[in-house]
Amino acid sequence: MIWFMIAGMCLVTFVPRVIPLVLGRNLVLPRWIRRWLSFFPYAALGSLIFPGILTVVDSRPWIGLAAGGCAALLALKSRNAIFPVLAAIAVTVGLQLATGT
């Protein structure tokens, strides 16, 4: 049962991810759709950040917000993503230690 489930899940996650790439540029799209598509990354980013960031530490949503704010400030200064990431980890661990677990 579990192995059947894993095989089925493998199929239904693989096919939608691959079809557009197999069709590639043979797929001709009108200009308005291309314009719409160009915003997908930003819309995806927004919906992935929020509200998920509130649940980093379940009982204290503000810790995720503080870490995110810190990451945003650092990202304004540097183009390398690793500094905001390390700072956010430090803030999250630090704030948990400071306020008790």
Binding site: I6, R17, I19, L27, L37, L45, L48, I49, I53, G64
Partner: protein, 236 residues
């Protein structure tokens, strides 16, 4: 390799999530190999967690497979965007034929946003990115399934924030380029939030689909936003 380096922040975020999956999977009754096979072959975080919840609730394999299809429809949208950005060759050789299948398997929410915001996306960059991230997901799962709760919760949560910090770090340069990009991102977040509040039963994958479609439509109506992406498409 630049793709590997771009994948490192994602990898840092994936390890604790994958470990949590490994721990939960063994608690739900999957064997070490079944948990590993999930990450090896299915490789879809949200769906993997959802399947455990459904299994615990006594759902059938068919119901779980259908739920997975629904949850992962967003990757179809993401793959459409990447199919227009990745310089795939139309060769008769094995490498050209296998490329869409290998690269497509590597599409996740995280690899999509990192790759789609790369100015000149190359196959090498994407391959480096997805291999790094995939290995992190797989090894995290095996560690979690093999040695439950080896890492203290406080550190795991600290690492869990990495994905969000990375999303923010790649969002900021886009917002600097055009305020419309920022507006679309804020609209996406609010829509996802609103959808989860209004329809709590809606699977998280569909929240993201709704947010992507609606917020991007808003951006397309208001302004040109990422002009460089549009120009690249014109040139191609």
């Amino acid at each position: 390799m630049r793709g590997v380096r771009a994948g490192l922040p994602v990898a840092v975020g994936y390890v604790p999530m994958a470990m949590a999956f490994g721990v939960l999977a063994t608690q739900t009754g999957l064997s070490f190999f079944q948990a590993g096979a999930m990450s090896l072959f299915v490789y879809a975080g949200a769906s993997q967690f959802a399947s455990l919840g459904l299994l615990a609730g006594g759902a059938s394999a068919l119901a779980i497979v259908l739920a997975t299809l629904v949850l992962n429809f967003r990757h179809f949208l993401m793959s459409i965007v990447l199919s227009r950005r990745l310089p795939l060759r139309h060769g008769r050789d094995h490498a050209a034929k296998a490329a869409p299948f290998v690269l497509g398997f590597g599409i996740t929410d995280e690899t999509f946003v990192v790759a789609s915001l790369e100015d000149l996306l190359s196959i090498r960059f994407f391959l480096g990115l997805i291999v790094t991230v995939y290995l992190a997901w797989l090894s995290g799962t095996l560690i979690g399934a093999g040695f439950s709760s080896l890492i203290p919760a406080i550190i795991a949560r600290g690492m869990g924030v990495a994905l969000y910090a990375m999303f923010i770090a790649i969002l900021i340069p886009g917002v600097k380029k055009s305020w419309v990009n920022g507006l679309v991102a804020v609209a996406g977040g609010l829509l996802a939030w609103g959808a989860s509040a209004a329809l709590p039963a809606l699977p998280s994958g569909w929240r993201i689909v709704i947010a992507i479609l609606a917020a991007s439509a808003l951006g397309a109506v208001i302004g040109s936003g990422d002009e460089t992406a549009a120009e690249r498409e014109e040139a191609a």
